[in-house]
């Protein structure tokens, strides 16, 4: 009978350690990627700004051209271009688990400030 209790307690100890390891493993596999999504979005907008595409498309209010230019593997993107007045054109995704990156553009060939919002959602 004593052997049974030893075994049961040893199993319980194993379950505690394995449970803890699974929790840590889940955090490790989840957090770096999730934390980096907005960062990836911002870097992508910055890349487009460096290529002058972002300025041009933003001045044309061509949100679909920005959407087509964004390439972040594993994520679906949608773009909104917002005026200082607050009115926006573009697509806002629905649902949860959406990451937002924002880049402010002063204009292309003339002063015309807008806010470019890039929404990223994990592809299913």
């Amino acid at each position: 009978m004593r052997g049974f209790w030893y075994m049961l307690e040893a199993v319980m100890a194993g379950v505690i350690i394995i449970g803890f390891m699974i929790a840590v493993g889940a955090m490790l596999s989840f957090s770096p990627d999730e934390k980096g999504v907005s960062e990836k979005g911002y870097q992508e907008l910055q890349r487009l700004a460096d290529e002058s595409k972002l300025r041009l498309y933003a001045s044309q209010r061509n949100y679909s051209a920005i959407e087509d230019s964004v390439r972040i593997p594993g994520y679906a993107d949608s773009v909104e271009i917002c005026e200082p007045s607050g009115s926006c054109v573009g697509n806002v995704p629905s649902g949860e688990e959406v990451w937002l990156s924002t880049y402010i553009v002063s204009g292309y060939s003339s002063y015309d400030p807008v806010k470019v919002k890039l929404y990223l959602r994990r592809k299913e």
Partner: protein, 180 residues
């Protein structure tokens, strides 16, 4: 009795591992320190806004408008930004200097070009314009406000901009200067 040591040992081991992990590991999922990106956006976009303002012939109004837009955009991201900028451009052997306050509160400003010093109290969102005459081709402009002081070596016949920026969010803050 001995089997219980396994359970106690497992709990102690988990506790030790838990203690060894940084707090941010458990609390930080989904949060990003995007102040760095706000700063990069400011550093890239303000010189561009200045150029567009110069092209349109109204650099001060353009910068002022863009500063207000940037400030309101950063506030949407729960940041508390503040800006003070000084802009100079040539005028008949001298320079015109404009200082704008977007710190969110009234500040006392002092601008010195050589020994010529001009002082003003600026409400949030307002500017001061001063003309300095008899300025050498290269001059030193000293801007002082709120305990901050910055000396800038500028060329008289050029358009010059310096912007002091502060972005705060909770315990995080970025304070930086931008020259263009």
């Amino acid at each position: 009795m001995r089997g219980q040591y396994f359970v106690i040992g497992a709990i102690i081991l988990c506790f030790l591992l838990f203690s060894a992990l940084p707090l941010s590991f458990w609390s930080g999922s989904g949060k990003t320190d995007d102040i760095r990106y706000m700063r990069e956006n400011i550093e890239r976009e303000f010189p561009h806004a200045l150029n567009l303002g110069i092209v349109s012939g109204s650099p001060e109004a353009t910068l002022s408008d863009f500063t207000e837009f940037m400030r309101s955009s950063l506030r949407e991201k729960f940041a508390n930004p503040g800006f003070v900028w000084v802009f100079s451009y040539p005028s008949d052997g001298g320079v015109n200097v404009t200082v704008a306050n977007f710190m969110g509160s009234r500040i006392d400003v002092s601008v010195a070009v050589g020994s010529d010093i001009k002082n003003a109290t600026l409400d949030d969102g307002t500017m001061m314009r001063e003309e300095f005459s008899g300025v050498p081709e290269e001059f030193t402009l000293t801007l002082s406000f709120d305990g901050e002081e910055k000396s800038l070596r500028w060329k008289r016949d050029k358009r010059n901009l310096y912007m002091h920026s502060v972005i705060r969010r909770g315990e995080n803050a970025a304070v930086f200067g931008l020259e263009a």
